[in-house]
């Protein structure tokens, strides 16, 4: 028997509400708003309240999928990254770097967003960077 509450931040949108995850014997079973968090002050939306459901969902993607002959096939990370890099090289050679755009996310950290734009500008060579929170 191991009960605990783990403070965390909601991964859904860019607001960044504070939550407490209710963990029983290593399994996430509930979500509560963090009452003292300066962002949400003890309130959550319906998505935030039900975060534990997607973590335990059987439909959750746990490994990369590569589309081969019109179907998604499970693969390993190294393989998936290699395939993506090869296709990027092909596309850039044929159509130029501006044929690629990078969409970053509110669900990843500031630092990861920085890395993504750096990747777009320095590696691919395009300024096509956008963000889902800039609606």
């Amino acid at each position: 028997m191991d009960y605990k509450f783990v403070p965390s931040v909601c991964p859904y949108c860019g607001t960044g509400c504070g939550v407490l995850f209710e963990v029983i014997d290593g399994k996430l079973v509930g979500t509560l708003p963090n009452k003292t968090h300066p962002v949400n002050e003890g309130k959550l939306c319906i998505k935030g309240w039900n975060m534990h459901e997607f973590v335990n969902s059987f439909m959750r993607l746990k490994q990369p999928l590569v589309k081969t002959f019109g179907r998604f096939m499970k693969t390993e990370w190294d393989e998936a990254i290699k395939i993506t890099a090869d296709r990027f090289k092909e596309i850039i050679e044929k159509h130029g770097p501006d044929s690629i755009g990078v969409l970053v996310s509110a669900k990843i950290t500031n630092e990861e967003n920085y890395l993504a734009q750096k990747f777009a500008r320095a590696v691919i060579g395009t300024n096509n960077v956008d963000h889902c929170a800039r609606l």
Partner: protein, 264 residues
């Protein structure tokens, strides 16, 4: 308080104690056990309002034989326990409590500290600090339009139900597809809020957690205080003051309303 908890855990009077601990500057609910007895020195009384009783019902559902200790940081915690005993959600013989009330954390104190209210809300809606009699001072049309304004802000987060210490039904009417249609915002008003209000009769202990959790600033506590008022007037039952069962736990002898088919 800490010495008492340590003694209880060591002597096996309680298997688990639900209190508060400061984690990274946030005072959050924490489970203290004999295995990590050193942590008991970190036990604090939280100023933030969490429902430790509701957490206890989840523990009791998993482990019915477990002896649970609960920190009571506000007077409403004890009232919530009474309601949960009355509805057989917790067994009073399995529960030990420690009282550590502070006047400034009492639900009645919150009502005396009104928050600033915008002029628009003053004109269109109802203020949290109002008493049921203040609302009754408006004429019927005003009253209805002001409540409808408040309900229309609902984003259907179910926070009021999820946070409520005395909401424990496995099947919730608010998720019944024939009563509340899915996919619409606001939900069907005023039915959505009134269904919940009716279910709060004989259960609501006026702790104010629903109102604190509401992102749309709906004065839910005011609504349920009116319901509580009716329960006192009609049934002479003061919710949570004793572990007696509420008048609504007794089934009537016959149905007095004619059944009406639901129209699609």
């Amino acid at each position: 308080m800490q010495a008492q908890v340590e003694q209880w855990l060591k002597e096996g009077n309680v298997d688990i104690f639900i209190g508060y601990k400061n984690v990274d500057g946030h005072v959050i609910p924490h489970f203290f056990t004999n295995e990590n007895i050193d942590e008991v020195k970190d036990l604090v009384v939280g100023q933030a309002h969490y429902s430790l009783e509701k957490i206890a019902t989840k523990v009791a559902a998993d482990h019915p034989d477990m002896k649970i200790g609960i920190l009571l940081a506000r007077s409403c915690n004890q009232q919530a326990l009474h309601v949960l005993y009355g509805w057989n959600q917790l067994n009073p013989n399995q529960i030990q409590t420690i009282e550590a009330y502070e006047a400034s954390s009492d639900p009645a104190f919150d009502l005396e500290q009104p928050e600033p209210v915008s002029s628009y809300k003053q004109k269109m809606g109802l203020e949290k600090s109002m008493a049921p009699k203040d609302v009754e001072a408006f004429d019927q049309q005003q009253r209805f339009s002001r409540w409808m304004y408040e309900f229309s802000k609902c984003i259907k987060c179910y926070g009021c139900r999820n946070i409520c210490p005395v909401c424990f039904c496995k099947e919730c009417s608010l998720e019944h597809k024939d009563l509340v249609r899915a996919g619409n915002l606001p939900p069907e008003i005023p039915i959505f809020h009134l269904v919940r209000a009716v279910h709060m009769a004989g259960r609501c202990i006026d702790c104010g957690l629903c109102e604190e959790a509401c992102p749309a600033d709906i004065p839910l506590r005011l609504l349920y205080r009116k319901v509580d008022e009716i329960v006192v007037d009609v049934f002479d039952y003061e919710t949570g003051t004793s572990p007696d069962q509420s008048p609504f736990s007794v089934l009537g002898e016959k149905v007095v309303l004619d059944p009406v088919p639901i129209n699609e």
